[in-house]
C-alpha cells in the first residue's frame, strides 16, 4: 500500500472531465467517512461524560457533607451511614507523596543520564531498553515483585511502604520518559552558551537545562502521580484496607481510596454503595485536579518548540 500505487486510478477518475462534479459514489464515501470519524469521537466521549455524571449524581450526596472530609470509617458497618473518607484520602496522598519522593530524583537523574551523558552510548541504549520493559510491566506484576522481595525474601509484613515501592516501579518510567522529552526540547545553544562562559557540565545541567525544562518536568510528575494514585492492583497484594486513620508507613494497614472502593464494591445495600461512589468521586476529583494542574503548567511552559 503506497500512495504511488493508488494514484493511477485517481488520475483516471479525475482526468476525463475536470468540469463535472465528483461522482456521487465518491462524494457519498467522503461524506460517510466524515460522519464516521465525528461519530467515533462522540462515541469516545460517552464513557467520559457518563462516568463523570454518574459519579457526581451517585457520589455527590456523601461527598458534600463536611464529615466526609474530616472523619474516617472507623467502627462503621454496612448498616451505619456516615463517617468519612479522611483516612483513605490521607492514605492515598501519603503513599503518593512517598512514592514521588523516591521516584522523582531517580527518574530525573536517569533522564539526565540518557539525554546529557548517555546518548549513543551502549549503556544508554541498555537503560532505555530497560525503561521500555519497565513501562510495560503490568501493575499487578509490580505488586507481585515487591511481595516476592519484601514478604517472601525479607520476611517482612505487608505495610504501606511496600505499596509505595511497587508504585515507584510504575511511576519511574512515566516521569523518566516525560522528563527526557522535556530535556530534548531544551535548545543545545543554551548548553553551548553556558559552556562558553566556563561553566561546568553539572552546573550547566542544574542551573540552565533543568530550570528551562522545569514546568514540563513538573507536568510529567503530576501526570505520573495521578496515575499512581488510582492504582489498585498492587494494593490488593500489598496494602490491605483499614477503616481507621493510619499514618505509619512501616506497620499496620492503611486505607486508601482505591481499596476503600474495593472493600465494599460487592455490597448491595444503599449505605455502603453510597460510600463506594463517594470514594470514587473523591478519587477522580484528586486525579483530575492533578491532571488539570499539570496541563495548565504545561501551557505556560518555558520550553516551546
Amino acid at each position: 500500500m503506497s500512495a504511488a500505487t493508488h494514484t493511477p486510478d485517481l488520475v483516471e477518475q479525475a482526468l476525463p472531465d475536470p468540469e463535472t462534479p465528483q461522482s456521487t459514489g465518491r462524494r457519498v464515501k467522503d461524506r460517510t467517512a466524515t460522519v464516521a470519524v465525528w461519530a467515533a469521537f462522540v462515541i469516545a466521549m460517552i464513557p467520559l461524560v457518563w462516568i463523570i455524571v454518574a459519579l457526581l449524581v451517585k457520589g455527590g450526596s456523601v461527598v458534600v457533607s463536611a464529615s466526609w472530609w474530616t472523619n474516617s470509617q472507623r467502627g462503621m458497618t454496612t448498616l451505619t451511614a456516615g463517617g468519612g473518607a479522611y483516612h483513605a484520602i490521607i492514605g492515598t496522598l501519603l503513599q503518593a507523596v512517598v512514592t514521588a519522593v523516591i521516584s522523582v530524583p531517580l527518574a530525573i537523574m536517569t533522564a539526565i543520564y540518557l539525554i546529557e551523558y548517555g546518548r549513543s552510548t551502549r549503556f544508554g541504549r541498555i537503560v532505555s531498553f530497560m525503561l521500555d520493559i519497565l513501562t510495560g510491566v503490568p501493575s499487578i506484576v509490580a505488586g507481585l515483585f515487591i511481595y516476592a522481595l519484601w514478604v517472601t525474601t525479607f520476611g517482612l509484613q505487608r505495610v504501606p511502604f511496600a505499596v509505595c515501592l511497587a508504585l515507584v516501579l510504575l511511576m519511574v518510567p512515566v516521569v523518566t520518559r516525560s522528563t527526557e522529552e522535556m530535556l530534548k526540547l531544551v535548545p543545545n545553544e543554551l548548553r553551548e552558551a553556558s559552556y562558553a562562559l566556563g561553566v561546568s557540565k553539572w552546573r550547566t545541567i542544574t542551573s540552565i537545562v533543568l530550570p528551562t525544562a522545569f514546568s514540563g518536568i513538573i507536568t510529567g510528575i503530576l501526570l505520573g502521580l495521578a496515575r499512581v494514585m488510582g492504582e489498585t492492583a498492587p494494593l490488593l497484594i500489598l496494602g490491605p484496607y483499614s477503616q481507621s486513620i493510619a499514618t505509619n508507613l512501616f506497620s499496620g494497614f492503611m486505607g486508601t481510596l482505591p481499596t476503600m472502593i474495593n472493600a465494599e464494591r460487592n455490597e448491595v445495600a444503599a449505605i455502603p454503595l453510597d460510600r463506594v461512589w463517594g470514594a470514587a468521586l473523591t478519587l477522580i476529583i484528586l486525579v483530575l485536579l492533578l491532571n488539570l494542574a499539570g496541563r495548565l503548567i504545561a501551557r505556560y511552559s518555558a520550553v516551546r518548540k
Binding site: A3, V37, F41, Y117, V141, R203
Partner: protein, 324 residues
C-alpha cells in the same frame, strides 16, 4: 570595579571537576538502579516461581486445574491464558478502528479550535483510574449490555464463540473486552494521531492536487504512511489490556469449579485472566508454594507483555529506520 585578579580568585579553577564526576556518577547510579530493578523483577519472579513449579504435578501450560491448598499441588494456566487473550484481543479489535477514526478526526477533520481541547478530552479518558472503570461498567453499563449479548447469542449462538453459557449477567469475557477497549482507546488514539500528523504534506497535497476527496487523500496518503504507527499503537494497547487487573477482576465472574470442568469457547463465558486470578487470591499468599503458584502466573504475564511491547517497539523502530 572588580579587577582581573579578584575575578581569577573567585573563579576557583578546576574545583568543579570533582563535582562533575560526582554528578555524573549520580546519573549513572540512577540509571543503574533502573537496569537493576528490571533484572531483579525477572530474577525474583523466576526464583520464586521455580519451587512451586517443581512441586507442580500438573502440566503448567495445558492444565486448567488450580489446586494448591493441599498436596498434590496441581496448577496450570491454560484457562487463564485463554481468558487473558480473548479479552485483550476483543479490546484491540474494537479499540483500533475506533481509535484510528478518532485520531483521524483529531488530525484531519476537527476544526482547528476544537482539535486541541478534543485531544485533551480523549487524554482525560486515560486519567480515569481503572477501578472506576470497573465500578462504572459492572454497576451502570452491564444492564445496557445484556440485551446486546442476548441478541448476539440468539443470532450467532450456533458459532461456539457466541454460544450461551451459565455465566449470569454481564460478567463475561466479551463485556470485559468491551470495557478494556474503552480503557486502551486513549493510548491507541494518541499514538495514531501522532503518526498521522507526521504524514508528509507533499503526499497529502499530491493526492489532493489529483482531485482526490479528503477521504481518498487519507486512504492513499495518510493511512499507508501511518500503518506501522497504528500497528505499534495496537500492540501497546494490547500490552495494556493483557495486564489490566482491577477492572477485569470486578467485571468478570470467576467460574465455579463445576463450570470449570467443561471448557467452553464462548465469549459469553466467565473466567479469570492472569491478573484477575492473582488479584482474586491476593489475600491467600500464606505459603511460599501458594504464592509461588501465583507468581508463576505473574511471570507468564510478564513475559507475555514483554513480547507484545517488544513487537511494538520493533515495528516503530523499523519505520523510523525507513523514514530517515
Amino acid at each position: 570595579m572588580t579587577t582581573e585578579t579578584e575575578v581569577a580568585q573567585v573563579l576557583r579553577p578546576a574545583n568543579h571537576r570533582r563535582q562533575d564526576q560526582v554528578f555524573k556518577a549520580l546519573a549513572i547510579g540512577a540509571s543503574s538502579v533502573i537496569v537493576a530493578l528490571v533484572v531483579l523483577v525477572a530474577v525474583f519472579l523466576v526464583t520464586q516461581a521455580y519451587p512451586a513449579l517443581r512441586q507442580n504435578t500438573a502440566n503448567f501450560f495445558t492444565s486448567r486445574i488450580f489446586s494448591i491448598d493441599t498436596p498434590p499441588i496441581m496448577f496450570g494456566i491454560a484457562d487463564l491464558l485463554w481468558a487473558t487473550i480473548v479479552t485483550s484481543v476483543i479490546a484491540v479489535v474494537i479499540a483500533v478502528p475506533l481509535g484510528v477514526s478518532i485520531a483521524l478526526f483529531l488530525s484531519h477533520y476537527a476544526p482547528e479550535r476544537l482539535a486541541r481541547p478534543a485531544a485533551q478530552l480523549v487524554a482525560l479518558l486515560a486519567a480515569v483510574p481503572s477501578i472506576i472503570y470497573g465500578l462504572w461498567a459492572s454497576q451502570l453499563v452491564a444492564p445496557y449490555y445484556l440485551p446486546v449479548q442476548d441478541f448476539l447469542e440468539k443470532v450467532l449462538g450456533w458459532i461456539p464463540l457466541f454460544s450461551a453459557t451459565n455465566t449470569s449477567g454481564g460478567a463475561t469475557l466479551m463485556f470485559a473486552g468491551i470495557v478494556l477497549a474503552v480503557m486502551i482507546l486513549p493510548i491507541i488514539t494518541s499514538l495514531s494521531r501522532e503518526v498521522f500528523a507526521q504524514t508528509p504534506t507533499f503526499h497529502e497535497e499530491a493526492a489532493l492536487a489529483l482531485g482526490a476527496t479528503r477521504w481518498e487523500m487519507i486512504r492513499t496518503a495518510v493511512l499507508p504512511f501511518g500503518k506501522p504507527g497504528v500497528i505499534s499503537a495496537a500492540m501497546l494497547g494490547l500490552g495494556r489490556a493483557l495486564g489490566e487487573t482491577i477492572a477485569v477482576t470486578i467485571i468478570i465472574s470467576s467460574l465455579s469449579d463445576q463450570n470449570r470442568q467443561s471448557f467452553s469457547l464462548s465469549f459469553f463465558n466467565g473466567g479469570e485472566t492472569f491478573a484477575s486470578r492473582i488479584a482474586n487470591n491476593a489475600a491467600e499468599f500464606d505459603t511460599p508454594t501458594k504464592a509461588g503458584a501465583y507468581i508463576s502466573a505473574g511471570l507468564v504475564l510478564f513475559v507475555l507483555t514483554f513480547v507484545v511491547n517488544a513487537i511494538a517497539r520493533v515495528v516503530i523502530e523499523r519505520r523510523r529506520a525507513f523514514s530517515e
